[in-house]
Symmetry: C2
Subunit: 310 residues, 2 copies
């Protein structure tokens, strides 16, 4: 019987998994993410019941944004309707007797990759999720780094170029302006408008302003030279931020997840090459490398379930 | 009787402290740092005997550079003569029956400030030492973050401006090119050569090329406007990197140590103002602030002693 359930609340969908006593996924489900907080809480409770029946003992929930230690979502550009909602309290009230824990989605994904994914066996690791923005999960000496308020891992807003493009957060040159899916879209449009990426523009229906990250990754995978150069530029910025994290935290490895990692070798190969140059004394760090995430889109939900029952 | 001894090996001097059973400093001493490894090891053993007599049970040693988990100094721009020396093994061989531990100096200082200094009571903190370069010590959930190889805390080589000045490490725009004592000297010379800091040039004997960081801090403390503007620029770069660390690690507070912190309010006040803008959701992080180190030049040695006997 499934006892531990995890739900990953994304900007567009909520994905749930139920784990058995051995931590294996025995059921999963997916529903759209409602905008309204009340509707979302109701649908989430239904989703939990659908994947786990009546036997659920613990629920872990991952959300994109800053979740404080009491389980309140304090900031979330992707889920503005949930800001300042005490998810832990609201869900506990709706699920009598179930232990509820709420955490940042990338921290959940990092915990899952550490526990049973690409970083299993590594006591020190960093998870970096490349989606619309960049999320992070940090594990040090086998423990999830949560920080004083529960906010550890907000690595997307690491400023890597103070003269760089403006970020919705109010600063300039945040890492996620360069190395996320939206960063790739921005780079792609710059090249498209400058006439440097015709195949990418063709994929975008001929409109340089309509270029998104997916158009670049598709063209690059098909062998288009300018698109591959764009991927290499993205990879260089990715490696720069990963180098900063490796210098600060000295992980045994870094796991890259999120939608952008589906681009595969056109991203990972130039990123690995650039990364070696970015790390202080790379040759003294045996085995330090970038690995693609192993758990795919379920990572966040699995990690939430594991954190919820730990 | 002193049982725990700590030694901080600096670029120019070695500073030792002996702690009593309550962790209080009961003796201290200081000698020049020899360039030759053999001479240094001999002098260090003499220094330990001088501060602690025959009763020493544990020795902790802090060194500037990357110390691996076996106590080998793998990289150290400030102590090239010690590179690849197995300090732990060599000292253990010379100090029969004494437990020896070797660690990075800034990690030691951070552990001291966490245990009994400006961050006592804070389970999550970051120590940043501003000297010729920038060193770091990270404490998460009450434990020193060491990393997979023992190298955690190499925060000075966080790239904050890829178009910035070259760093001896081979990259461009490392944080310590902007926010350390040598970064202040570089900024000061730029302003001096451009004719923007006459009082600073006067302190440097009239030669703009001779400007060092100390000339700027002295002029700023004396009320010179351009020197205070230079300190504000340094403080802005300092705050940028501190913001990156706060976003990644969510510390309860950040402790600033090293020689540059003696500049006092002309550094700390603009740094505090700029820092607030650099942290994602600063208003949701109660109490997060920058504090000056409390233990002064003994922090590294005290922390080494505490780590050595833990």
């Amino acid at each position: 019987m499934a006892r531990a359930v995890g739900v990953d609340i994304g900007g567009t969908k909520m994905l749930a998994v139920a784990l058995d006593d051995h931590g294996e996924v025995v059921a999963s489900g997916k529903v759209p993410t409602p905008l309204d907080a009340e509707v979302l809480l109701r649908d989430l409770v239904l989703l939990v019941a659908n994947v786990a029946g009546a036997g659920v003992q613990t629920l872990g929930v991952g959300v994109p944004g800053m979740v404080d230690s009491a389980g309140v979502l304090r900031r979330s550009p992707h889920l503005p309707g949930l800001e300042e909602v005490s998810l832990q309290k609201e869900l506990s009230a709706r699920l009598h007797g179930v232990g509820v824990r709420v955490a940042n989605d990338a921290s959940c994904a990092g915990w899952a990759e550490h526990t049973r994914g690409a970083a299993s066996g590594a006591d020190d690791m960093v998870m970096v999720t490349l989606g619309t923005g960049i999320g992070g999960g940090i594990v040090a000496a086998g423990r999830l780094v949560e920080g004083a308020n529960g906010y550890a891992g907000e690595i997307g807003h690491m400023v890597v170029d103070p003269h760089g493009p403006p970020c919705p957060c109010g600063r300039q040159g945040c890492w996620e302006r360069f190395a996320s899916g939206s960063g790739l879209g921005r780079l792609g449009r710059e090249w498209a408008i400058a006439g440097r990426a015709p195949a990418v523009v063709a994929l975008a229906g001929g409109d340089p302003e309509a270029v998104r990250g997916e158009h670049v990754t598709v063209a690059a995978a098909a062998g288009d030279g300018p698109a591959q150069d764009l991927m290499a530029e993205l990879a260089w910025w990715l490696a720069l931020g990963l180098g900063n994290l490796a210098n600060a935290l000295d992980p045994a490895l870094i796991v890259i997840g999120g939608g952008l990692v589906r681009a595969g070798a056109v991203l990972m190969e130039p990123a690995r090459r650039a990364f070696v140059e970015m790390v202080e004394g790379h040759n003294t760090r045996p085995g330090l490398m970038l690995e693609a995430a192993a758990l795919g889109e379920q990572a966040g939900a699995i990690g939430a379930a594991l954190l919820g029952c730990s």
